[in-house]
């Protein structure tokens, strides 16, 4: 295990590893700021934080090029940041501002960044999977060579769209990676009670594609397994289903008393399986980064998020006459 790890670290190289840590910390700090702004009443509606799940977004998306694409979910801030979306514009969007990524019209659940290959967050559970297949079909038809990583939660695997998408991708050998972030719960539905199988990746069998289970708190393992699936897809061998076991530290959304799980279970994940803490330790032990370098990165992240918040707070509200703009192309 640890030997293969050393290899991965050398393969990836210092610069990329440092960037991965930066991304991880940026996502967490961004989400903590979002939480704070929500509590202060500056963000309205609802929000779904991905605190605890950062390594899946970063590990998977680090394998992609700018041309490769993703589809995301209601819990999509991490995917968005990892795919390179402008952080101040994201924050402005969450505050509903005119300078926001979607001009204040989409909000947290609907951030898309087509230029960066993010085909969109989605307010509809499992909504992204068939769309990912379509984007992959374009890649094949136009010989563009890109792959699509479609993120979704464990709960989404019980939607018809999940099954239909896997089947179509399989028969057409589409270059899609179906990436399940199994944080063990839908809103309140424990996946163990909502399915009768041990691993969701086992569902791949039904569609004749590979299914992989990976520790979703380990960014390098996520990277490795996704890389393999991306290479397979790029070779024209079709889709892979990846299941990353992870945990969302916070409630489903703002209005969640978390009665469906114990505080002990939460503490176990938070204390013992924090993917960011583990990654930092790994990089220190492998002498990839020093304490001082990590502190420097932390300071940068903090500054970037503070600037994003300031930009968002100081931005104007959208003008009312934009209401009917953008309905049609």
């Amino acid at each position: 295990m640890e030997t293969s790890y050393a290899n991965v670290i050398t393969d990836i190289g210092k610069e990329k590893l440092q960037d991965m840590l930066y991304q991880l910390m940026l996502i967490r700090t961004f989400e903590e700021a979002v939480e704070r702004l929500f509590m202060q009443g500056k963000i309205h509606g609802t929000m779904h934080l991905c605190i605890g799940q950062e390594p899946t977004a970063v590990g998977a998306i680090t394998t992609l090029t700018n041309e490769d694409k993703i589809t995301s979910t209601h819990r999509g801030h991490g995917h968005c940041i990892a795919k390179g979306t402008d952080v101040p514009k994201m924050m402005a969007e969450l505050l509903g501002k005119a300078t926001g990524h979607c001009k204040g019209k989409g909000g947290s659940m609907h951030i898309a960044d087509l230029d960066k290959g993010n085909l969109g967050a989605n307010g509809i559970v499992a909504g992204g999977l068939p769309i990912a297949c379509g984007a992959a079909l374009t890649s094949v038809k136009k010989n563009l060579g890109y792959v699509v990583v479609s993120f979704f939660g464990d709960g989404a695997t019980n939607e018809g769209s999940f099954h239909e998408a896997l089947n179509i991708a399989s028969i057409w050998k589409l270059p899609v990676i179906f990436f399940c972030e199994n944080n063990h719960y839908g809103m309140s539905g424990n996946i163990k009670q909502m399915t009768n199988i041990e691993n969701l990746a086992d569902r791949a069998v039904a569609y004749g594609i590979p299914g992989e289970v990976v520790d979703g708190t380990d960014v390098l393992k996520v990277y490795e397994v996704t890389k393999k699936a991306v290479e397979r897809a790029k070779r024209g061998e079709g889709p892979t289903l990846i299941e990353a076991k992870t945990y969302r530290w916070r409630g489903h959304s703002k209005s969640d008393a978390r009665k469906y799980r114990t505080r002990e279970e939460e503490q176990d994940w938070i204390q013992n399986k924090d993917g960011i803490k583990k990654f930092k330790e790994k990089l220190l032990n492998a002498h990839v980064l020093t304490e001082a370098e990590i502190e420097e990165l932390e300071a940068q992240v903090k500054k970037e998020v503070e600037e994003a918040v300031a930009f968002a707070e100081n931005s104007p509200e959208p003008s009312l006459d934009t209401l009917e703009e953008d309905v049609f192309a």
Binding site: T46, G186, P318
Partner: protein, 329 residues
């Protein structure tokens, strides 16, 4: 009489009906310990047991089909769809199965289902969680459509919906859940197809549905100060529609405004306006019937824009005045 909220009124109605009739049960996502996305089913699982309060996987297509199948074979399911937007995923079972099985069977079998679902905007949830889709369902022969506006109506209409031997779509409004009003403890039924005159008046009839009833009442108070007497009629059910009460009112007032939150274009307001025009009230009309519905835009996230997208009290005042004297802007 005691006052309870709209949400409590619906919960009480469901609880009483499940206790009274072993054929009645409720199914839906997160309706167990979580109590549903809006707390509607809080405490019901503890009180009534998991066999009566069935938390389902996130599978709208399957659970709506389950409701149809169990209804066809003798049960009376209540289906909670977490947001009315997700009715789109259940639509095949509702539109192609529930609505027409009995007819296609030559009158054999019936589908007594109540599909309860929160609709409407005003909470900042953006385009995929804020729609008012009632016109869709009202368009389909074989479906009944209910839109209660008060706690009292909600409880009474729920019982009538559940006693009905047909599929009934029961649209709740998320902004009304906290509204308090007088509600009897015992069960009672408000017949489907019976409008309610929420306020008497002599100059203009305002036909308003769901949350618009309250905005119309506020507008009416304001207009009274300006010497205009407004009668507010709440049809309460779109199918069946009590057109007689509306026609009687228009014969008295000679003016009519139809106010609703859903997108005006292709909406149910056109139906009501046409029915008035085709009725004996036509000869009494002193002005064209005016429709005031939502703008034809997906619901924006920014809350100022969101407000702008659907009729507000001031818009109703302007619409009412426009039937009396042309407004110059």
């Amino acid at each position: 009489m005691r006052k309870i909220t709209y949400a409590e009124a619906i919960r009480e109605a469901m609880t009483q009906e499940i206790k009274a009739n072993e054929d009645v049960y409720i199914l839906g996502e997160d309706i167990g310990i979580y109590g549903g996305a809006f707390g509607l089913t809080n405490g019901m699982e503890e009180e009534l047991g998991r066999e009566n309060v069935m938390s389902t996987p996130i599978s709208e297509s399957a659970i709506s089909g389950v409701a149809v199948g169990s209804a066809l074979t003798g049960m009376r399911p209540i289906l909670e769809l977490q947001f009315s937007d997700f009715i789109t995923i259940a639509m095949d079972n509702i539109v192609n199965q529930a609505a027409k099985l009995r007819y296609m069977n030559g009158g054999k079998g019936s589908i007594p289902i109540v599909v309860r679902t929160p609709g409407g905007s005003g909470a900042g949830f953006a385009a995929q969680h804020s729609q008012s889709l009632e016109a869709w369902t009202a368009h389909i022969p074989g479906l009944k459509v209910v839109q209660p506006s008060t706690p009292y109506d909600a409880k009474g209409l729920f019982k009538a919906a559940l006693d009905d031997n047909n599929p009934v779509i029961f649209y709740e409004h998320k902004l009304l859940y906290g509204l308090k009003g007088e509600v009897p403890e015992e069960t009672y039924s408000i017949p489907l197809g019976k409008a309610d005159v929420k306020r008497e008046g002599t100059d203009v009839t305002v036909v308003a549905t769901s949350i618009m009833v309250h905005r119309a009442l506020q507008a009416a108070e304001e207009l009274e100060k300006q010497g205009i007497s407004v009668e507010v009629i709440d049809p309460r059910t779109l199918v069946p529609l009590d057109i007689d009460t509306i026609v009687e009112s228009v014969k008295k007032t000679s003016r009519a405004v139809v106010v609703y939150e859903a997108v005006q274009r292709g909406g149910y307001g056109a139906e009501i306006a046409s029915l008035i025009n085709e009725s004996e009230a036509f000869d009494y009309l002193d002005a064209p019937v005016v429709r005031l519905g939502g703008k034809a835009v997906p619901m924006p996230y920014n809350m100022n824009l969101e407000k702008q997208a659907v009729p507000q009290v001031e818009d109703i005042i302007i619409a009412v005045k426009s039937t009396i004297a042309p407004v110059t802007i």
